[in-house]
């Protein structure tokens, strides 16, 4: 996983609430057995018409947002399925950070496993950044994970909270499985204990 430390980039505004995983990556693209290559189909049904032509007024099709690295989105972003294809598609497109008032639980976790930072901010802050993002490519937003701040193009900064363990893994690009395997002795001990206590499990 790539590290995430500090990012300054173009932010695309997506004010719609409840943007679900079927919108982010429709199921037709879940048949891949790989992680990469999903970026062209990110938001497929909102982005292209049935013949595969771009829909001009979809935000990521606008010239100023084609290189967006940040999304500022409406409430409850990523609701729906557990498909990790959603963060894979975002990442493959080049999105490294999503800012919203709330995220669906599984999507939120999946982001951290893929080096995408989901930032939760209060409504006023998201509204402010949504406005900022609407100004186009000149409005670059800075996300600093170390300092836990998001800074709008005019210098207005917002503090966000992040789980310390997840922050540590993101800053260092750590692989969870490797970390857990360091605790294999504790897992062995647990398994022995429950084998006696709950033999039917």
């Amino acid at each position: 996983m790539d590290k995430f430390t500090k990012l300054t980039g173009i932010a695309a505004p997506m004010p719609l609430v409840n943007i679900d995983t079927d919108m982010i990556i429709p199921k037709g693209f879940l048949k891949t057995i790989q992680r990469s290559g999903l970026g062209v189909n990110l938001f497929d049904e909102m982005r292209y018409d049935r013949s595969g032509n771009e829909i001009a007024d979809f935000v990521l099709n606008k010239p100023q947002y084609r290189d967006a690295e940040i999304l500022v989105a409406g409430d409850n972003f990523g609701c729906g399925s557990s498909r990790e294809h959603a963060p894979w598609a975002l990442l493959d497109f080049g999105i490294r950070c999503v800012i919203s008032t709330s995220f669906a639980d599984i999507f939120f976790n999946n982001c951290f496993k893929n080096g995408i930072l989901p930032v939760v901010l209060p409504q006023e802050a998201v509204d402010y950044l949504m406005d900022d993002a609407s100004k186009g490519a000149n409005a670059r937003i800075t996300v600093d994970l170390e300092a836990q701040t998001v800074t709008a193009s005019d210098g207005t900064a917002f503090h966000f909270d992040v789980d310390p363990f997840k922050k540590h893994c993101m800053l260092n690009g750590l692989d969870d499985i490797g970390l857990t395997l360091e605790k294999v002795a504790a897992i062995d001990t647990y398994e022995k204990r429950v084998a006696a206590q709950f033999p039917w499990v």
């Binding site: 719609l16 079927d22 879940l30 992680r35 409406g74 498909r83 995220f103 789980d163 039917w200």
Partner: protein, 473 residues
């Protein structure tokens, strides 16, 4: 004396392998269910790192999302190339890593969340995960069950644990009794209608109250299944005699002395008097009506007697979302829900693909015919459900009514196989998601109970099933 605990607290505590100072835990996983869509990259990850599946005996794999539901499906040619690649990858991975496996040709094959309980893999007090959000279903047994992403699937395969932080406790109480014609599906949709799709974010929900106790296991699974649509990590129902009776004798349930020991433990799995909940929602069972969804979010729920709402009646970002929904759904504010005409009916999915659901649909369809121009797909949740429905004569009722009687799988719940809505087609569906494009590109989904879907099938429009219940045919 220890502080009173919730059911969630008890299951959680029994599975903590290691806890860091900041509360991050390594949580042991008792059952890991695997399907073909979210697992290939995880198995590939194991291969690339030279890791093994730590506990293959706790890992159960079954293909369900992609598989065709037509009778000729044993012939792999009926699958599209990319679906076949995914199903074959599961086949290969299940064998190579030595996990339990139910291939398409096995009568026990079906939707992963139906197969797990049916085979006795899911038992009270367990932790159950799957790379699928509707893992919440298994919470009906008093098991802590939730969906995970593919990276976490790999993590569980390699370590049999997950890194987790505890969620908050939420209690959803349904008091009293349901009225006739009102079912578990109406309960779970009514709850989401009340709390919203983000209302449960950060929580594990425990459903309780008389109306929940009165439900069969099938009904309880329907309720917990959609905890995820309410944003919750998991839904739970404390196990009781109904649960124990369901589990007894299942192929992988304990037997003899082990059963007795298990039972003694399971009986301790309830929320202690005075335990703390961070949030409480109470709904009177008598107040719940048969409901349907009108929009493209599961929170867009209304009683069937209502009219399509005006976007202006909402606040904040929901105003635009409702406009978009109505446009997508081809509906105008103010029209009666019962005036909405349908083209298709889908009865199935991990929400409502169990025997009781098929019985409820058959009770309405018996002696009746599909409305002209309506097509209906009845897709049992597993091969065993299918066999039972045939034995009970339900299949014949469906066929006589003009429905298609299919093989088991996810089918039109997410339309990854050829079972899809055509553009603009409108469907009365017993599944769990009405998102844009969920059942097919530009398809329109109204969620409801099996009885309500069957009622729509015979009238050709959304219908209050209670009207058909009073008429005899």
């Amino acid at each position: 004396m220890t502080a009173p605990k919730t059911l969630y607290d008890k299951i959680w505590d029994a599975h903590v392998v290691d806890q860091s100072d900041d509360g991050t835990c390594v949580l042991y996983i008792d059952r890991h269910l695997v399907h073909e869509v979210t697992s290939p990259q995880a198995f590939e990850g194991l291969r690339m790192t030279g890791r093994k599946v730590r506990a293959p005996e706790r890992t159960i794999a079954v293909p369900d999302h992609n598989v065709p539901t037509t009778l000729d499906r044993a012939n792999a040619q009926t699958m599209t190339e990319d679906s076949r690649v995914q199903v074959e990858a599961l086949d290969k991975n299940a064998k190579a890593f030595g996990v339990h496996y139910y291939p398409v040709t096995d009568v026990r094959q079906g939707i992963v969340h139906i197969v797990g309980p049916e085979q006795g893999w899911t038992l009270p007090g367990m932790t159950v995960v799957c790379g699928d959000s509707h893992t919440a279903t298994h919470g009906a047994f008093g098991a802590l069950a939730h969906g995970i992403g593919t990276s976490e699937v790999e993590h569980v395969l390699a370590t049999q644990t997950l890194i987790q932080k505890k969620s908050k406790n939420m209690k959803v109480e349904i008091t009293g009794h349901l009225r006739p014609g009102v079912t578990a599906k109406d309960i779970t949709l009514a709850v989401i209608g009340k709390t919203g799709t983000a209302g449960g974010t950060g929580y594990v929900i425990e459903y309780c109250g008389q109306a929940i106790r009165d439900l069969s296991m099938e009904g309880r699974m329907t309720v917990c299944n959609m905890a995820i649509e309410g944003g919750a990590r998991a839904g739970l129902i404390a196990p009781d005699e109904t649960t124990f009776a369901y589990c007894m004798g299942r192929p992988h349930a304990p037997k003899g002395a082990a059963w007795e020991a298990a039972l003694a433990y399971w009986k301790t799995l309830y929320t202690d008097e005075g335990a703390h909940f961070d949030k409480v929602v109470t709904i009177r069972g008598e107040d719940i009506e048969p409901v349907v969804t009108w929009g493209t979010s599961p929170e867009d729920v209304l009683p069937i007697s209502a009219t399509v709402p005006a976007p202006e009646s909402f606040t904040g970002g929901k105003v635009d979302a409702a406009k978009r929904s109505l446009d997508y759904m081809g509906l105008t504010a103010g029209m009666k829900l019962t005036d909405i005409k349908i083209d298709a009916v889908f009865i199935g999915s991990c929400t409502n693909g169990r025997i009781e659901d098929l019985r409820a649909a058959a009770a309405v369809l018996k002696g009746r015919k599909l409305a002209p121009g309506v097509r209906a797909l009845i897709v049992p949740g597993s091969g065993l459900v299918r066999a039972q429905a045939e034995e009970e004569g339900l299949a014949q009722i469906f066929i006589d009514a003009g429905c298609e009687w299919r093989m088991a799988g996810c089918s039109m719940c997410l339309a990854m196989n050829p079972d899809q809505l055509a553009e603009g087609e409108r469907c009365a569906s017993t599944s769990n998601r009405n998102f844009e494009g969920r059942q097919g590109y530009k398809g329109r989904t109204h969620l409801m109970s099996p009885a309500m879907a069957a009622a729509a099938a015979v009238t050709g429009h959304l219908t209050d099933v209670r009207e058909l219940m009073t008429k005899t045919v």
